[in-house]
Symmetry: C2
Subunit: 348 residues, 2 copies
DNA sequence: GTGAAAGCGCTAACAA
DNA sequence: TTGTTAGCGCTTTCAC
């Protein structure tokens, strides 16, 4: 492959001049500029990114570390990251750790050898480990964390505002007249706790007893777990008019369980969830608090690049990204017969 | 960050010795090895991938070019690619072109500047352009193509065996007793043509008139297009016992249209499709010819790395990756009343 | 305006 | 066995 020397020789100038033309640095006479550009075209020359990086001590590259690119949220983040990176003339390496902490450690090693300028880190348990982040920070590699529930003090984090999401969704259901609520969620999820917190806030603000909120923790994260959890909820002593599922997998399980028990949505039970995987023609369509992964990915990578380019240098902080309520036909207004009159609040 | 010189100084040896220890090349006395390793640990030294690549003229990096990483198939391919790459000590850059030919061209430029050793190219219309591939090949960058319908002579391609997929699916339906078939597909799709070809093969092999196969081309690729196409098919003069949809989006549209017309699956119409996005609890579950994206991604990247490392150097050729029939309850055996007796073939 | 030359961090050939 | 050194391809002073 042609080098800058070849170009210089072909154009009959020095390498310094070629470099100046390529980078637009220094002053070069139009005549020589033309000769250089012709030489570049003739030899089909492309500067070596590697040699440049070595010299400049800046690689113009980013790394995205993630437990599973196959997850729609993570791939959406990757998508916007690569877009922003291209706009600002950076490239991005991807490391899919498969959720394996050992692979995560290995990936971090690679990342420092690659001398990337910055890292976008999925704040999942395998990656959000302070010792890993220290390895990066010690080497002055900028890091932003994204899309998890735990924040990390030493870096900028972009997290979902789960509390508000729970609050918003509960407000909506209360406005429809619902009071007795089932919340189906994984037993050990921090996000679930935050959402529940928001749901409770809504009840308290409306002056409705939080004891109307019934939680159904299930032990796993699978559709199957949710299916069984829903069967349990149905067979429990407490009849509920609305069910909030934890995520798309949960709502799939819940929907199936309700159908199998002959309960129609929304005639018998209103259903809402948190998540995005909605297909326009699936029946019934489920009201949902949705994530905007692409936008959070874009915000995080903008921030990362700003830090790298010293356009931003405030203390690291955590930003909460709001989720949006998308109303679909899975929730109906319930008749006043179900509501003690003194607790009624006006419909939207 | 510490350099190899720092390590040499700290250990009181020469850089050549340090290099030899790191790379396991040459003979170094155990005593010096120990000193060097201690120095490396003390200084927390990591060799610069960039300097190495510059010297070795091999970057140990791959690029994956794709129109949309958000597409589940493409992200699955990315996943297996990064896994194989890590195993063999390569890293991977991702370029998401957003389906924009201009972005594709730009990405190819970047890839050349990056001096990657190899490229995995999605064989979609924006990327599968000979002139782009020539840019790479001229610079001795290895290329494999993946997951498209058109093959390219100059590179190894890994394509779905659409003809056989159509054949297999049609055989299955014929065995169930179906004869009159509706095939709902995008008008201008090469894959659709291949699948239809396979379907016809099955009919011919079974000695059944191909005129029983009714095609319903629709102009777009969206769920909505499929929905409307299905309505048309239903209202056409020809009653069919089975419907084959082009992909997951199409089957979603078709299912909705059938439901809206009061047609039950599989009681009134049997439905099958090509694709993977099946959720265990969705009703009804659809029989499908499925793709194994991860395995095709792994095969393609293995091949790419073998070429890069000169472990493989046959002429470029095209491999057809078979799809698998997954039987679900959406297709039923039809009663002999629907079949002219002389055309009956034995059930599975 | 232009060219010569030092050096980014590393490897490998050669000397000692 | 170990050290010295010449580059890999580029950028960037600093003379001219």
């Amino acid at each position: 492959m042609a080098t800058i020397h070849d170009v210089a020789r072909y154009a009959g100038v020095s390498v310094g001049t070629v470099s100046a033309v390529i980078n637009g640095t220094g002053r070069v006479s139009p005549k020589l500029q033309k000769k250089v550009n012709e030489a570049i075209r003739a030899l089909d020359y492309r500067p070596s990114h590697y040699a440049r990086a070595l010299k400049r001590q800046r690689t113009h590259s980013l790394a995205y570390l993630v437990p599973d690119v196959t997850n729609p949220g993570f791939s959406a983040i990757l998508r916007s990251t690569t877009r922003i990176a291209r706009q600002r003339h950076y490239t991005v390496f991807v490391f899919d750790t498969g959720g394996d902490p050992e692979a995560a450690r290995e990936s971090i090693e690679r990342v420092v050898e690659l001398r990337v300028d910055g890292v976008i880190l999925s704040l999942t348990w395998d990656l959000a480990r302070p010792e890993l982040i220290d390895v990066l920070r010690k080497r002055e590699i900028e890091v932003v964390g994204i899309s998890g529930s735990r924040s990390i003090d030493s870096i900028d984090c972009f997290l979902w505002d789960e509390v508000n999401a729970g609050y918003t969704l509960a407000c909506y259901l209360l406005r429809l007249g619902h009071r007795v609520l089932a919340f189906l969620h994984p037993a050990d999820s921090e996000s679930a706790r935050r959402r529940l917190h928001g749901i409770r806030n809504a009840y308290e603000e409306a002056g409705i007893p939080v004891s109307y909120i019934h939680t159904y923790p299930v032990s796993g994260y699978s559709t199957k777990d949710a299916y069984e959890g829903t069967l349990q909820a149905i067979s429990s002593a407490v009849p509920f008019s609305a069910l909030i599922a934890f995520n798309d997998a949960f709502v799939t399980g819940a929907t199936a369980a309700l159908a199998d028990q002959g309960l129609a949505i929304p005639e018998h039970v209103s259903v809402a969830t948190f998540g995005n995987s909605h297909t326009a023609f699936s029946r019934p369509q489920i009201t949902s608090m949705t994530y905007d992964y692409e936008s959070v990915g874009a915000r995080a990578s903008q921030r990362l690049l700003d830090r790298i380019e010293k356009a931003y240098d405030s203390e690291p902080r955590c930003e909460y990204v709001s989720m949006e309520l998308v109303v679909r036909p899975s929730c109906r207004a319930v008749s006043s017969a179900f509501i003690p009159p003194d607790e009624r609040i006006p419909l939207l």
